[in-house]
């Protein structure tokens, strides 16, 4: 499914060669294979330098948001949380705003780009505040208080961000274009920027899939089964936030993915995190690549923001699965 989505993403676009020539050319570019596809060098540049980075980046963003969403749902034992509801995304946005207002031009040439790190730091702070506030007032089992705390933290963080932008109106344009996302102007540099974070965070999360199943029986019983509950929770939150902050740094705010993909997977194959995590990863990538396609061609030459598309595709998709699931019972 992911491969199919990758191919479709590469084949469809407002400019460039006829769609069926592209898979042939991709094969041609593989070592040891020579196929005459009739794709010219400039057309190939459109595919390789414009479409492919965008498709790969969309895939990475989708994979990461989905697996992070599923992981948050696991450690907080709450089906309603996703990176956006917990305030991670807003926190990451605030972190990025700090970097922009202080000095973007100078810092981007540093050895390690501070942008993802600041996004990560603030995102992590936001999720920790949400968790502490949510559990302090609602107790461990209350789903609603956690979500409400997330909403409160998100609005507080957004307010701080708005205040900062008022004071530094010169960077407002830069920050807003950052928030809205740069998927449409993605380059291989963006892919290289997020790839290490994505690989690190998803690897660690995938290694925790069995332990997330242990946590499903509650903190007390998980402890009695010999699990270090707090340690697991801390590590999972840390790495899920790292991944989220990194992809938010390039894609801007894309909602829906972290909550809809894991739920779709659960409805299809069951709730065990052993399958939910890896499948959310794959399906999330495929979903976001597919969701990016209509954005490019619908209002050509203008672009439809991908967040609009995910909501449009996501909601009916979710309802459809819910319906088939109920019918099969």
């Amino acid at each position: 499914m992911l491969v199919l989505a990758l191919l479709c993403g590469a084949m469809i676009g407002p400019a460039g060669p006829t769609w069926w020539r592209i898979p042939l050319e991709l094969l041609n570019r593989l070592p040891l294979l020579t196929i005459h596809s009739g794709v010219s060098e400039s057309e190939w540049n459109i595919i390789w330098l414009v479409r492919m980075p965008r498709v790969v980046l969309a895939g990475l963003v989708g994979c990461t948001l989905s697996i992070a969403g599923a992981s948050y749902q696991g450690v907080f034992r709450n089906p309603l949380v996703d990176p956006y509801l917990l305030g991670v995304a807003a926190g990451a946005g605030l972190g990025a705003t700090f970097v922009f207002t202080i000095n973007r031009a100078g810092s981007s040439t540093w050895l390690i780009d501070p942008l993802p790190l600041a996004a990560f730091g603030c995102g992590l702070a936001a999720v920790l505040v949400t968790y502490v506030v949510g559990t302090a007032f609602g107790g461990e089992r209350s789903s609603t208080t956690l979500v409400l705390a997330g909403v409160a933290v998100t609005s507080l963080v957004t307010a701080v961000q708005a205040f900062l932008l008022q004071r530094h109106s010169d960077v407002m344009r830069e920050v807003y274009s950052w928030i809205l996302g740069r998927l449409s102007t993605a380059t291989w540099t963006d892919v290289r920027l997020v790839l290490p974070y994505v690989v690190l965070s998803t690897t660690v999360l995938l290694f925790h899939r069995r332990l997330l199943d242990v946590l499903r029986v509650g903190d007390d019983e998980a402890t009695a089964l010999g699990a270090h509950v707090n340690r697991i929770r801390l590590v999972v939150v840390l790495f899920a936030t790292l991944g989220t902050a990194a992809v938010v740094a390039v894609s801007g705010l894309i909602g829906f993915v972290g909550i809809i993909v894991p739920h779709a997977v659960r409805l299809l194959v069951g709730a065990s995190y052993r399958v939910v995590l890896p499948l959310s990863f794959l399906l999330g990538g495929a979903f976001l690549i597919t969701a990016d396609i209509p954005g490019r061609i619908l209002s050509n030459p203008a672009e439809t923001p991908i967040g609009v598309v995910t909501a449009f595709l996501g909601a009916p998709f979710f309802l459809l699965i819910l319906r088939t699931r109920q019918a099969s019972r």
């Binding site: 290694f207 925790h208 069995r210 332990l211 199943d213 242990v214 499903r216 029986v217 509650g218 007390d220 019983e221 402890t223 009695a224 089964l225 010999g226 699990a227 270090h228 659960r266 069951g270 709730a271 065990s272």
Partner: protein, 260 residues
């Protein structure tokens, strides 16, 4: 078979003393039942053994104190069935029982062939083979209790702790659950510590009873020694009739106080 010694064990929640200097020796293969009114500290004591609440004093399993064992090793020695186990309705019985193997799997590892074979044999031994793929949400109260016990059995721990194993069951399933525990105890030489409210059932299954009151150990001994009308009146504040059967079992029958 494994012994369990409590040496001046105390559990405190903030300023409230839930268990106060509790000392007791549970012999290898023995079934000890903790009785006492609500809030006596029975559950807190069980929760202390499995590391859910912290305690002072010592709990010694087979000569080594639990403080010196890490969480996984402790879970290999002690299995725990809480009063109302958390059973995610969308988890199936196999996945649930497999969680009992967690103490034997390394942090990032996954279950070995031995672990899955062990779980399969637990399903067979407990006559649960038909349940393997059933969702926990579809099970009845009695079935859930058997699956919860199955998870504890899969832990292969020599000590089994049961917190109110019969509280939500009808009289038939109560007996069924306790017979199952008794059978496992005999077959595997388990040492069992349970907390129970039904005094008649407690007396007929356990080897020894320990009465707790406000965190303190009050009295311990056989059913005949502990289940006495005066004792129960003092600590439970009830009027009961204690009936001794010819075979040695003791039935505790609550009596309605006379209307004035």
């Amino acid at each position: 078979m494994t012994s369990l010694n409590f040496e001046k064990v105390s559990v405190q929640y903030g300023h409230r003393h839930a268990v106060v200097e509790f000392s007791e020796v549970v012999r290898p293969g023995e079934w000890l039942c903790l009785i006492g009114p609500n809030g006596a500290g029975k559950s807190s004591l069980l929760r202390a053994i499995v590391g859910i609440v912290s305690f002072s004093g010592n709990i010694v399993v087979d000569g080594a104190t639990l403080h010196d064992r890490n969480a996984r090793r402790r879970a290999q020695l002690v299995a725990y069935v809480p009063q109302s186990p958390v059973m995610p309705s969308d988890m199936n019985a196999y996945e649930y029982v497999l969680l009992g193997r967690n103490p034997y799997v390394s942090h990032f590892g996954s279950e070995s062939v031995h672990d899955t074979a062990m779980v399969n044999s637990v399903f067979e031994r407990l006559d649960l083979s038909d349940f393997t793929h059933r969702q926990l949400g579809e099970l009845s109260g009695g079935e859930r209790q058997r699956v919860a016990i199955a998870r504890a059995v899969a832990q292969e721990a020599p000590i089994l702790l049961l917190d109110e194993p019969t509280s939500s069951l009808d009289i038939g399933h109560q007996q069924q659950a306790l017979e199952l525990v008794d059978k496992l105890r005999r077959e595997h030489g388990l040492t069992v510590v349970s907390a129970m409210h039904d005094l008649t059932l407690a007396g007929s299954y356990a080897d020894r009873l320990v009465l707790m009151h406000e965190g303190h150990r009050v009295v311990g001994g056989t059913a005949q020694e502990v289940l006495r009308a005066e004792t129960l009146a003092e600590f439970y504040g009830v009027s009961v009739h204690v009936h001794h059967e010819p075979d040695g079992t003791v039935a505790v029958i609550p009596r309605r106080s006379l209307r004035t």
